[in-house]
């Protein structure tokens, strides 16, 4: 059984670190507190699953069409001149063709 001081320290951490209110805390089960808010973490602070698998979304490279789509969005937001957009798209296309070439070489 935690001492009153230990218990208050846990609650204070939940309120301070996770910005919970007292009302939020009142509605939490012990399981939620122990297994979610106090979940085991790696040295870098990321959540570590009990089976040893780090819960981190894998980084994914965008495809050429996705890169162009993002470029179009940015160009629309910042009113880039058409020539600038065209140049950027040409550079992207060149980058992806060189990537394809590298993959073929492997």
């Amino acid at each position: 059984m935690p001492s009153p001081a230990q218990m208050k320290a846990v609650v204070a951490t939940l309120l301070d670190h996770f910005h919970l209110t007292i009302d939020d805390y009142a509605r939490l089960t012990d399981r939620q507190i122990v297994e979610l808010y106090c979940h085991k973490r790696n040295k870098d602070g990321s959540i570590e699953a009990d089976d040893g698998v780090a819960v981190k979304a894998p980084e994914r490279e965008l495809t050429l069409s996705e890169e162009i789509h993002q470029l179009d969005i940015l160009a629309g937001i910042f009113n880039w001149p058409a020539q600038m957009v065209a140049d950027a798209k040409a550079k992207l296309a060149a980058k992806f063709s060189s990537k394809d070439a590298e993959k073929h070489e492997r």
Binding site: M1, P2, Y25, A26, R27, L28, T29, I33, E35
Partner: protein, 151 residues
Amino acid sequence: MSALSQVLGNAGAQHTFDHKGKTYKLRMLDQAAKDAFQKHLFGKARAAAMELKSAMDQEAYAEHLAKLNDDFILGEYSLESNRGQKYLQTTAGQLFLASHIFGADDMELVNVMMERADEVVALVKLVLQESLPAASKAKESDPNGQPATTA
């Protein structure tokens, strides 16, 4: 056991129990429920003290009440305490916890249990398993630890 149900707790859908046209919506054992438990147990201790009042002089009675207060402040009436765990092994303790989870008063739940005890007990056990961390189950097999919190 559904991890989703465990992580959502009382923010998720509730387990339901239908009996004679009434649907009971079960609440998981959250911190407010644990507080209700310790205050209920403390209330019983104060009621017991009242019974002893006539057998004690005023000073002894005041000391006894002060001791009750001190114990409460130290968490001696909490669900996890030895006193709380012992109370949970009694019919009254189990009934209090079950009626809190069911959102029904003691007598109402007794009537339900007269007909469907097995189902009520199974559902209360499930709710407690979902509410309490897996680590607390280790106490069940620990002969030196406190008894597990199950109704």
